[in-house]
């Protein structure tokens, strides 16, 4: 065991609390007072454990991508066919974005869509994360095309961008109060379109 007085809180546990606050209020909309109150620790403990507000956000984002909704995306990519990937992706998004246990919408979309100078680097980080997911999806579609699972005339890049666009739109819809059923209807409509476009 290490020297010194031991920490009196569970780091992952309070990180989840911070994640929840950032998710709900965005990066700029969250103050350190909001964070310390929700996390149940005081300011110097927060700084000692997580660095500063920006680093805390990044750690919360990592957790979001790893244990939270991000895990759902990775599972979807593992589906055997492109069609199954998209279906799983859209359906899971509809569920996840409206999960009553979490704030509505997606942290990677709402965390810092537009912001002042101070949050600029956070905004760019979120852009990169979204772009990375889009690229992973594109790669998955390219594989599907190579496997003959998608037609020769299909365009993996446009397809990936389109699916991302629908998911991101669903996030805005969720933030506006759309229900799980509403989003499932959107997902169905997008899926019908894709199935038709493929044939």
């Amino acid at each position: 065991m290490q020297k010194g007085r031991p920490r009196e809180f569970d780091k992952e546990q309070v990180l989840d609390k911070a994640l929840h606050v950032f998710w709900e209020r965005g990066y700029e909309g969250t103050s350190l007072s909001d964070l310390t109150e929700a996390m149940g620790i005081n300011r110097p403990s927060l700084y000692a454990a997580f660095g500063n507000k920006e680093e805390l956000f990044r750690q919360a984002l990592d957790r979001y991508a790893e244990k939270g909704p991000g895990a759902v995306y990775r599972e979807a990519l593992a589906e055997p066919t492109a069609k199954a990937v998209v279906e799983r992706l859209l359906k899971s998004s509809a569920d996840c974005l409206t999960d009553p246990a979490n704030p509505p919408g997606c942290l990677a979309v709402q965390g810092a869509l537009s912001c002042g100078d101070a949050a600029e680097s956070i905004k760019q980080e979120l852009c990169q994360r979204r772009a990375r997911v889009e690229q992973e999806l594109r790669l998955r579609f390219e594989r599907a095309k190579a496997e003959g699972d998608l037609g020769r005339e299909s365009d993996p890049e446009s397809l990936a961008r389109y699916v991302m666009t629908v998911m991101q739109g669903m996030s805005v819809q969720a933030a506006g109060g759309a229900s799980r059923a509403d989003l499932h209807a959107v997902a169905d409509m997008a899926l019908r379109g894709l199935a038709a476009a493929e044939s």
Copy 2:
């Protein structure tokens, strides 16, 4: 003419400047210093002419909806057929969201997607505006259905929500750096899907 010293700036002109700043940085990300600097007036003049930050935002939003991109939406709704409405809506959105003269994306989406307590009422205002546009679109589709322009099995509500979802997703894409061509490809894909779903 009225008594007193006349205002030395054009109200609409400086309101456009304010609109631009809010559009780029969002409501919370914009400080009064940002505004006065961009508008070229000092603080008391701003308060005398526009009330306060929140009222200024609302007036900028009205202008956005009236003279800005909002006008494009109204034009699209006037198209003769549902298909033409959607096509015009998506294509115009792609152009508008990536117009180099404006910040990328849509003010009604990025202005305050998630935020702290102070901006809560702005967030709700934006939600209501988005919902109102969605409802206008739904009404347009209901008319199209009554006119036989849309099939009997079509669902105007889901259709409207789907189109709004795509447009809102395109706004997120634009904020992330997507080009006009990128968004046109998305629009084409959404349109192909709808055409197929209709048949």
